[in-house]
């Protein structure tokens, strides 16, 4: 919301306060100023000049040489402009002057003739032909002896055309529709600076002719339209508005059009109450019906778009058809035209939610709908209508008929809230008296009836005693309230799970991996890129109904493709290696209208720097061990999409799958444009946590020495080493402390299809040093167990 300070000063006397100080004070009382701009603030040394003579340039056909009176002296200006003549008053940019955008102008020579500056156009002053309708776009700005302007040679141009207002841009929050108006902000300013708010009651002078019988208004939906009012103006005289109105509109960021349109905008800005004007000729049978549209009913709005309405859209209709979408936009057909003679001014109040829904469904947000949807004051409707008529008279824009046509169902008892000074003081930690609070509340037009606060109808946000406390706090000053430390000795802590997750992060960082963060939403195409089969259960994703684009349109069911994207980016940026991890959520749909299952998953991806399958496996194992999980198993698996079918393992605990690890499938590697092998794994950290043994117990250090024995076996190469290890563990008995693979061999010395595997077994007893017999017995049992899984002792 832009505000003209000049306009504001009509309602509150803030004197010559500096814009910066004004902005600071308003911000601190709750009306946040985004920025302020002094109109023409960069214009410097441009003055009014009177052209004394225009002569041909001796050496150029298209240039003329002018002698110009600039007050105390006379200057010579050379110009190519064709619209200047002797006697014209024009803006003269003197030597070392600046245009509105800071462009410097200097004295110079044009084809050998000295020019002590230049004349300028409206655009070079930062204004438009809408602001000065008598100016032309492409040419010098010829000043006119406007009734409000009396430019004389030598006068500063900003003063001469009154380009010296200050525009202040406010951030108005959605709870303060009243502040979308000059009067609303003036009320805030008056309260902020302790000044009186000078309100004006409009007076309408009519021709005496009665409007009875010319127009009938009927509201069919009083809930959606508490009040609808109209007045008729005859013999409309459409012309430009006077300068004072044009410059106020300009400062508020509204383009002046003509007096009738400008009046509706002016009143909207001043009162915050949107207005509309119809051509009475096009109100069939002189009947206005405020009703819901019929499904499929059509209207062409002022923006020229044909719209189809639904039965949830409130419209202003004549006897037959809609002529406006209530609170949003008027119809093209019934608008003001060049030959309009009689107009109907509309001022009405509409239900905010209804306007918001309609505007949204028609995809047309307007200044009017933006105001209505926040909830406007029904009591502003009639004063605004009167103000419009008053302006019609002031601008001599038409003849006002007697009588307001109105359907009013808006009468409500004003809201009352008890002022409990003790409660407020306790809540805010203040020590204000009841009377001090009362004084603050009266500044913002709350009336007090005993300890009852009567809330003004333009403040729909004041509903509760907490709202009252805020009003008191902001004018008392948030920063004058003494702070207190939070009392009560609460014990803050990280939960067991939070510490578990932090530990995973720390472990991975110690292992040399960098943490990444990626978007939770992905493109459905990512599933193809990782070779997820058609119809795979993970293709069933949570879908965003209004995504920014396809790339971020579904919630990922797996973070694997996100990891590959990042690896790919790093590879393309020529990073030699990348070891990355992310702990984030995967989203699995459950039932319609139920929240998805959000799984916490660790995803790791690595390429380059000599990483291979077993290094990746080492990272996975270290994470699990450090998380308090020892009983994990790796099972060969070719069932996972995206992985090399021969280099992929399912990670399980007690038969339950918790993750997958492997080399990324060469095709996937190619899909991501990565020219080296990639290793990746993912582990569901919820399941890992569920299986974690977090209570650690100390194991006594061994008292007796260990015995080591080596064993080599031959078996089919399809038997995984893990199966052999398991057989040894099951067979060797209680003295087996650990078993370690130290060699696997396939090749010439062994028959095709077989492999040899050599293990080192460590045996130890807690009761005493093991005898050779005991060790031999353990080894024999291990060999027998190995034989059962198809492995023979290598001779």
């Amino acid at each position: 919301m832009n505000l003209s300070l000049r306009w504001l000063k009509e309602f509150v006397d803030i004197g010559d306060i500096a814009p910066r100080d004004f902005s600071e004070a308003m911000t601190m009382s709750g009306s946040k100023v985004e920025l302020f701009e002094i109109e023409g603030g960069q214009i410097d040394n441009i003055v009014v000049g009177k052209i004394l003579s225009v002569e041909k340039h001796p050496d150029a056909d298209k240039l003329v040489v002018c002698q110009v009176d600039v007050g105390e002296k006379q200057v010579q200006i050379v110009t190519a402009a064709t619209n200047v003549k002797t006697g014209d008053l024009v803006p003269v940019c003197m030597d070392k002057s600046h245009l509105y955008d800071g462009t410097p102008i200097k004295k110079g020579k044009l084809r050998g003739v000295v020019s002590e500056g230049m004349f300028c156009s409206v655009a070079e002053l930062g204004v438009t032909v809408h602001d000065f309708p008598y100016a032309i776009q492409d040419g010098i700005f010829i000043l006119q002896d406007d009734p409000e302007l009396h430019p004389v040679p030598g006068m500063d141009i900003r003063e001469a055309i009154r380009l010296n207002d200050t525009k202040v841009e406010f951030e108005i929050t959605s709870n303060r529709p009243d502040c979308f108006s000059v009067i609303g902000l003036a009320r805030e300013a008056a309260a902020t600076f302790g000044k009186e708010l000078k309100l004006h009651t409009p007076e309408v002078k009519t021709t005496g002719k009665k409007s009875e019988g010319m127009l009938e208004v009927k509201v069919h939906e009083p809930e959606l339209c508490p009040i609808y009012s109209a007045r008729i103006v005859e013999n409309v005289r459409v012309k430009p508005s006077p300068l004072w109105m044009r410059e106020r509109l300009r400062a508020m960021g509204v383009r002046p059009i003509n007096n009738i349109v400008d009046i509706t905008n002016y009143v909207m800005l001043e009162y915050g109450q949107p207005m509309h004007a119809f051509d009475l000729r096009f109100i069939k049978d002189g009947k206005i019906n405020v009703r819901l549209a019929k499904d499929g009913e059509k209207i062409t709005t002022l923006d020229g778009i044909d719209r189809t309405l639904s039965s949830s859209n409130l419209v202003i209709a004549d006897a037959e058809k809609p002529v406006a979408i209530a609170g949003v936009m008027g119809g093209e057909y019934s608008g003001i035209m060049d030959d309009t003679t009689t107009i109907v001014f509309e001022s009405a109040n509409f239900n905010g939610s209804s306007v918001r829904r309609t505007a949204k469904s028609q995809n047309m947000r307007t200044d009017a709908s933006a105001r209505y949807e926040k909830g406007l004051d029904p009591n502003a409707v009639l004063p605004a209508l009167d103000r419009a008529c008053e302006l019609v008279q002031l601008l001599d824009a038409g003849d006002i008929l007697d009588g307001t046509i109105v359907d009013d169902n808006s009468a409500r008892e004003p809201l009352r809230i008890k002022l409990n000074a003790d409660w407020v003081n306790h809540f805010l930690n203040t020590e204000l008296t009841f009377d001090e609070m009362k004084a603050i509340l009266e500044k913002i037009d709350c009336k007090l009836d005993g300890d009852d606060i009567i809330v003004p109808t333009f403040r729909p946000d004041l509903l509760h005693k907490a709202d009252i406390a805020e009003e008191i706090a902001r004018f008392h000053g948030y920063n004058t309230i003494e702070s207190t430390p939070l009392s009560g000795g609460a014990q803050g802590k990280f939960s067991v799970r939070q510490k578990f997750d932090m530990n995973i992060t720390n472990t991975l960082i110690a292992l040399g991996l960098d943490e990444i963060m990626t978007y939770s939403f992905i493109s459905p195409k990512y599933y193809n890129k990782v070779m997820m089969p058609e119809g795979h259960r993970l293709r069933n994703s949570v879908v965003i109904s209004n995504p920014l684009g396809e790339d971020t349109s579904i919630m990922r069911t797996t973070a694997f493709p996100s990891m590959l994207e990042i690896l790919s980016k790093n590879y393309n940026n020529r990073n030699e290696y990348a070891y990355l991890f992310e702990i984030a959520r995967e989203y699995r749909p459950t039932a319609p209208d139920k929240l998805p299952d959000e799984k916490n998953v660790l995803t790791v991806g690595m390429y380059g720097g000599g990483v291979d399958f077993f290094k990746a496996k080492g990272v996975a194992e270290e994470v699990m061990k450090r998380s308090g999980v020892e009983n994990y198993e790796f099972e060969q698996s070719s069932e996972f999409f995206g992985y090399h079918p021969g280099r992929c393992a399912k990670i399980t605990i007690g038969g339950e799958m918790i993750g997958v690890l492997g080399e990324v499938h060469p095709k996937v590697q190619q899909n991501y444009g990565i020219g080296t092998r990639i290793y990746a794994f993912s582990i569901n950290t919820d399941k890992l946590f569920a299986n974690a043994q977090l209570d650690k117990h100390y194991k006594p250090l061994p008292k007796y020495p260990a015995v080591t024995r080596d064993i080599a076996v031959i078996c089919s190469k399809d038997i995984p080493v893990a199966a052999l290890e398991k057989a040894i563990k099951e067979g060797a008995g209680k003295h087996l402390e650990s078993v370690k693979l130290f060699d696997v061999y396939e090749g010439k010395q062994i028959a095709p299809g077989l492999k040899s595997a050599a293990f080192s077994l460590t045996l130890r007893s807690a009761e005493g040093t093991l005898t050779d017999e005991q060790a031999a017995s353990a080894m024999n049992k291990a060999i027998k167990s190995l034989e059962k899984v198809g492995a023979q002792l290598r001779s």
């Binding site: 939610s353 809540f427 930690n429 960098d514 943490e515």
Partner: protein
Amino acid sequence: MKEKLEEIRERARQELAAAAAVENVEALRIKYAGKKGELTQILKQMGKLSPDERPVVGQLANEVRSFIETAVETKKAELAEAMLEKQLEDEKLDVTLPADMSPLGHKHPLSIVLDEIKEIFVGMGFEIVDGPEVEYDYYNFEALNIPKDHPARDTQDTFYITDNILLRTQTSPVQVRVMEKQKPPIRIISPGRVFRSDAVDATHSPLFHQIEGLVVDKDITFADLKGTLETFIKRLYGEDSVVRFRPHHFPFTEPSAEVDVQCFSCKGKGCRVCKNEGWIEILGCGMVHPKVLENCGIDPEVYSGFALGLGLERVAMRRYGVDDMRLFYENDTRFLSQFE
């Protein structure tokens, strides 16, 4: 024989002096003082001497043996010392050669800053809670006093899944869930991912992180809110931070405030960093709206509370001088490895 012994002593002395290696010294010891050495050979001939000469020659022989043994040990020690010195000399390294170790990984900069914020709040008695990122409209909006068709919804452009399910636009729904389950006193923060329909550019991302805090108890006042946030900001930005509270509007708090910290670069004078305002907006906060408490089954006549919220990315950008938010989500290792 005496002469012979003297001659042996002299020869041993000279040969030992000339020996260049420990092995040579040992060989000399064996040659002279070994079981079959020259001294032994001489002593075997002692029988031939007169009883008078025997003690004299015997004594001399012992002296010579003793001399040789001492000289051998001394020489060995000298040589060992010389060898060590040579070894140390040979082993000299160019210590400026690069180190050899596997480098540690790096925490994401957002995690580093988030961990710091979490620690500050834990130190102030807060617990950390988590909640769904795909959330019901009710928890994200309605329970927070933002009904359907409320204009405040415009400030948080929302991704919808269905009419009733959305991607949370804030982490406040976690607070509602906590209040529904837990009786006051409540002192929590809820950090996490939030989603808003903003196109990606240097300062916007459709996914970002928020940290929201909530305190509910008997007698919680606006002054407690101020005190808590001042402490938090001083711990995060330094004890000399200057903080101000500015009235604002959030549908779920009343009174509401935005909190600014005086610009660190210009100390409030106005500069490029603070867009000439002298202040930098840090967070939003307020006293929990009575309707929100009521919606969660907490009696606003008995309890009061405050809530706060801040964006993690902005804090991290300011902390590290990162001027483009996209860097956080591009995850280039050359970027990530700059943070420890």
